[in-house]
């Protein structure tokens, strides 16, 4: 069993904009490595360089933030787990946004990082509220699916299966999948291309 992720609290960083892709989150040149170590410092590197210190990740008001608040379709593009790894190593433990690319959200779950979505008007409220008072503590209740800020408690969405994995600490799939035991091979034995006409050897 992995650690339970029932509640995450801390400061939040607001990163506006839609369709932020994985090449922006972690430029491909940092994928030339055999481990994920050191990726944190390169998160959003090109965007940050271009913003010359004005990027939210460099904004002193958001320093030490544990929650990243984003727009829609965040994490689209490549399947690289390097993207959530970089953000996790930068210090983020949870994401709140309008929507997330599927593979990105799946990769986050596999690392125990919740990706919660809010209705557009609630997301706008949350972003504005954090902008007004970046020092406030934001509370993400994974169990009850909500995000609380100064402006109030906002109802958030998180697929039920994912919610259970996070709160029960069963988000490391390998252990769960292994429990199937011999049923894995008996499924394979029924597949025509493995039993009847296998040609790959």
């Amino acid at each position: 069993m992995s650690a339970k992720r029932e509640r995450i609290t801390g400061r939040a960083c607001v990163l506006r904009g839609d369709d932020i892709d994985t090449d922006r989150i972690i430029p491909a040149r940092y994928l030339r490595a055999v481990t994920f170590e050191g990726l944190g410092e390169h998160a959003f590197e090109d965007d940050r360089r271009q913003a010359k210190g004005n990027h939210p990740l460099d904004d002193a008001r958001f320093a030490g933030a544990r929650i990243l608040v984003v727009g829609s379709n965040f994490g689209c593009g490549s399947s690289r787990e390097h993207a959530p790894q970089a953000l996790m190593r930068f210090g983020f433990e949870a994401f709140v946004g309008a929507s997330f690319a599927e593979i990105f959200a799946g990769n986050c779950t596999a690392l125990g990082l919740p990706c919660l979505t809010l209705a557009p008007q609630d997301l706008a409220r949350l972003m504005d509220c954090i902008d007004l008072d970046p020092a406030q503590e934001i509370a993400i209740d994974v169990t009850g699916r909500s995000v609380t800020c100064r402006a109030g408690t906002l109802r958030a969405s998180l697929p039920e299966g994912t919610r259970r994995q996070l709160v029960e600490g069963s988000w490391n799939n390998t252990a769960v999948l292994l429990e199937a035991g011999g049923a894995i091979e008996s499924t394979a034995d029924r597949l025509p291309y493995l039993r009847d006409f296998s040609a790959t050897s």
Binding site: G77, S170, A180, A188, A199
Partner: protein, 484 residues
């Protein structure tokens, strides 16, 4: 094990009795190990492909958990992202690339995984070599730590791009935890006009349905224009499903699929092939299949398509004008303005005539033999414009050999293109082939994200290989139909 007629196997029977099932349903049911407490399906993965970028960390996680690869015979490896294309000679000049290569070799050796090695002429982009070897077959579940795994759907496989933790899951268990997607059928009716290619079709689909339109869906591509496509063209379409937000895309297997597989090294042969074809036919979507959504597009209305923005949905026909912020829906305006600023293109201006600095023909989208053949038809008609750097990069060593046999490298070289060795090359910034500064690149690849091609300010215009070749010759975006 004694061969059973396919309809007597559980999977064959399940598929056969369900005329209302889609291919996705049939394949999903056949591969279901069990339903998981989180609501996902534990799905058996029939073919696992790995490469040097997303696998080393997965092997490390496996080691940390004290586990071995459960079915090494179902995993195949190659090297593509980091390999230099000027010379594949070892050791690679880039030490990081060499280290990744060594790690892959070590993992394959330690875990008994078949490695398609450049030294043996077997290497290529993972999504190019698996089909050409006949590893990719209808009805399989396929996974690879790479989002363009959707390519393999061209054969009627259900193929997913996965993250590194999931690569670990497959290595350790030969299974994935996945939610069953809904199926959207996308019918391309009519016939494509001359000079319009599979790349134009998929760019058009993404433009119509949006880069988020496919979230939660598998795309089933169908209709006369898709059925008329070769398997290589279908791969181009399925390849970019992910760019439309769909995790996988597929075409139902048909005679063209079976003909492609006949005689391939790792496809079934002889009597086994006949049994295979019977099963492959049985898993295709039934005549009464139910879809969560249907879209139809008239193929005749599609023109050669070019992206102008910073995601693959921002595209237009080559004869059209770049949209103005006031012309688009509210929720697209900010993204359009950002795109125009980054690309330094003018709203309302024609895309045709946009000057380019670099032309790239290659990638898992368009680096196969038929792509190079078509581009060579254009290359034969002129010379690369002064000041333009033009690269042709075959998708695999086998593609390179086949192109050689047809004399394509000579045609390209005579026209001023560089002919390279197989790899991902300028599709992404992990090897020496990169844009510099604000270079504008006409590219046959699949992503035009900011910085994708290696320069943080570099700019990408996605288009078909023929359109790239034409742009190379003219030094600007051109309607290739005028040169064909």
């Amino acid at each position: 094990m004694s061969p059973l007629p396919p309809h007597e196997t559980a999977a064959g029977a399940a598929a056969k009795t369900r005329l209302d099932a889609t291919l996705l349903d049939a394949v999903w049911d056949a591969h279901t190990v069990r339903e998981l407490p989180n609501g996902d399906t534990q799905l058996y993965i029939g073919l696992h492909l790995i490469h040097e970028v997303t696998s080393p960390q997965a092997f490390a996680m496996l080691r940390d958990m004290g586990l071995r690869v459960r079915h090494p015979e179902r995993t195949f490896a190659t090297v593509d992202h980091i390999i230099p294309t000027e010379s594949q000679r070892r050791p690679f000049a880039d030490e990081l690339a060499e280290a990744m290569m060594k790690e892959l070799e070590r993992n394959c050796r330690e875990h008994d995984i078949r490695f398609f090695d450049p030294a043996h002429g077997e290497q290529g982009i993972v999504h190019v070599i698996a089909p050409e070897l006949g590893l990719t077959q209808p009805g399989m579940t396929i996974a690879c730590g790479d989002s363009h795994t959707s390519t393999h759907g061209a054969f009627g496989a259900v193929a997913f791009g996965i993250g590194t933790s999931q690569v670990r899951d497959v290595l350790a268990t030969q299974c994935l935890s996945l939610a069953r997607p809904k199926v959207r059928r996308i019918e391309i009716g009519g016939a494509l006009s001359p000079g319009v290619y599979a790349k134009d079709v998929i760019l058009h689909i993404i433009q119509r349905l949006g880069v988020k339109g496919g979230i939660g869906f598998a795309y089933e591509y169908a209709g006369p224009a898709i059925e008329a496509m070769s398997l290589e063209e279908r791969m181009t379409v399925c390849n970019m499903s992910i760019e439309g937000g769909a995790r996988c895309g597929y075409v139902n297997p048909d005679e063209a699929t079976f003909a492609y597989l006949r005689g391939r090294e790792r496809a079934p042969q002889g009597a086994a092939l006949e049994r295979a074809v019977t099963w492959w036919r049985s898993i295709a979507s039934g005549p009464k299949a139910r879809y969560a959504d249907r879209v139809s597009i008239d193929g005749a209305t599609i023109s050669p398509t070019v992206t102008f923005g910073i995601h693959p949905g921002q595209s237009l026909g080559v004869g059209a004008r770049i949209p103005r912020p006031e012309d688009v829906p509210d929720d697209e305006r900010a993204s359009l303005e950002e795109a125009l600023a980054y690309m330094d293109l003018r709203a309302g201006a024609p895309i045709e005539g946009t000057p380019i600095d670099v032309a790239f023909i290659g990638s898992c989208t368009n680096g196969r033999l038929s792509d190079l053949r078509e581009a060579a038809r254009i290359a034969a008609k002129g010379h690369v414009a002064h000041g333009v750097k033009a690269l042709v990069v075959p998708g695999s060593q086998a593609v390179a050999r086949a192109a050689q046999a047809e004399g394509l490298p000579e045609i390209f070289r005579a026209a001023g293109f560089e002919w390279r060795e197989a790899g991902c090359s300028m599709c992404l910034a992990m090897n020496p082939d990169r844009l510099t500064g604000r270079q504008m690149c006409a590219s046959s690849s699949n992503r035009n994200f900011k910085g994708r091609q290696g320069s943080p300010a570099g700019r990408t215009l996605l288009m078909s290989p023929v359109m790239v070749a034409a742009a190379a010759l003219e030094g600007r975006v051109t309607d290739a139909r005028e040169l064909l």
